[in-house]
Amino acid sequence: MTISDNLTKFHGRDVVDFESGEPLPDPARTASRLTITYDGPYNEFSDLWADFMNSAGVEQTEAVIIGNWAELDGGPVPSEQAVRLIVSSAERLPKLRALFFGDITSEENEISWIEQSDVSAFWGAFPNLEEFGIRGGNQLQLGAIKHAKLKTLKVESGGLPRAVVHEIGAAELPELEHLEIWLGSDSYGGDSRPQDLAGMLDGKRFPKLVTLALRDCEWADDLAATLATAPILDRIKRLDISLGTLGDAGVDALVASPAVRRLQHLNIAHHYVSDAGVAKLTALEIDVNAADRKEVDRYGDEEHRYVAVSE
């Protein structure tokens, strides 16, 4: 699987592409997407951003989605300049509550080829942010994450560098309710291991966390075993380990965990669990999503399981 759709809803709003010269849509009901399209009206993100900033009523904007920040034919361009532009306009966006950075489909660029950069300046620039999402793990740095209002943090990648996992594990996000990370494949830079999750799972952070989503994990059985005894599990209501490689061993670890039995919802969609394994989960009195079972690839003695999103 690859990313085959743009966001159509974001922060509870319909997504509307920004068009120069058109009045900005109702900020309470819509999110504006700014993206360089194929053969479209803009070649430079700076021109697109300038037109957006010069639109009447832009200061009322509450939700923004950034798609491509560079021409599609030009090959990958790091996100650095786009980040700098957006941050430098922060005072023109005092009401910004939601930002998604990198709404790029596989038709435009592979998720593993998106070139991010240090985006840590967003935290200080937008103090009213409640939701932040980003796609692409290459060169991504979240820095020292400290934010008083952020409720939702999503980091999507085909392979998330270990250093970023550590940054998230050290984050100071007292209001965080939804944490979603796509760990991805080692072949695409996802070099984290269970021990790298310690900061996220030890229960010392994220006092208001409701949903923990550690998706697209290549070592999902080990992840399940780690989660089964993780202090954070006592706090959350929803656990999402979908898009990964979960098998029967991981299921056994989950069903043995008292904390798992107290969840409201468990999502393992895209998994390698047997019928018997799925039955063990559905026997728990929690809501389980076990859709999209995959078959193990076998080459001789070798077994291969794949995450849903990598390249």
Partner: protein, 401 residues
Amino acid sequence: MSPSPNDERRTALFAAGTPLQAVIVGTTGDPRMTNYQAARARAGLSPALLLDYRDLIADPMGAAARIATPALARIESPGRDPQVLAGLLARGIEKSARLNLHHVPRAEIERLVRERGRLLPPRQLYFGMESVLSALAERAHDSGVPGDIQLVPDVGTILLAFDKSACHRHLAACHVSVPPALTTVDSFEALMTAMRAAGLHRVFVKLQHGSAAAGAVALATSKFGMSAITTVEVVPSAAGLRLYNTRALRRYASRADIARLIDALAPYGLHVEAWIPKASVEGRIADLRVVTIAGEPEFRVLRKSRYPITNLHLGGERAEASVLLSRMPARAVTALDETCRAVARAMPGALQLGIDIAVATGLVRHYVLEVNAFGDLLKGVTTREGLDTYDVQLRAMERAA
């Protein structure tokens, strides 16, 4: 051969004074034949006389001579019948050999067409089609009064539509929006050089005479590596690499594998275009098949897929075109319809055309990806009045008569 670029041809196509003998050139048992004859029956018309490709292949001139005048002969796709395909491949040897182009010798054809999924050399098939259809064109030309035997579509249009490079050039010359194309790519190295020179990082490599996405490769390059999503499976054998069409799309990620793939396809003749990033709907990548009839876009179908190659037999799903069109600005939808009309004007020898169109991300720009001369087989798709593509064609001809 190029289609007659004027409206006289179209007038001749429909201006039938005396009762015409209705002929259909096709392969017995093919659903296109059945569907067309069924539509004739619904319209209260007698069945069209069948001229089977098998007869046309066995004796092109003799079979063509069986068309009595005045006649209107609808030319259909030869379909997938192995015997017909073998016959066309055999008819394609002579020209392939004369032009010193890669082809399969007679002795190997039978085994090739019987082997499940084997990629058949499309240019050789094309030359075979050209050879047998030329007999029809000649018969039409020699039948006496011009237009006494009308071929629909005419042979020039069929051949143009089946040559992606020629069709691309023709449409571009007619100011139809098509993706930028790369010329003279005959190897992986040549492809890399051409992509660099054009500043293209993402291309669609197609077989110049291929159909139904056979041999198509969606190739993306970046400093991080390469990716090729393809309908082709490369299987090494003692006699070299064998190519198969696969219904489960393959992905190759190493430069060596991709080079091997492109170099294996190159002898068949390549057509390379920029990969237009297609808009998405409902979580899927989508493109449009528009069927024009008598110049007007009459049917629009959306094809959705997880992958850049959206053909229905490759896992694509059909959906209502309105799902995409309703998200586009009104002016962009109008422009898309105008493009379909422009394609029909550029190929006036056809009554119907199946036009594949990509709407790019941003939902404004669109590009014609393919034109199918036999693109009207849309299973289960009807107008609001319950008419299928064949019904609408018969009505269009009735109106014009």
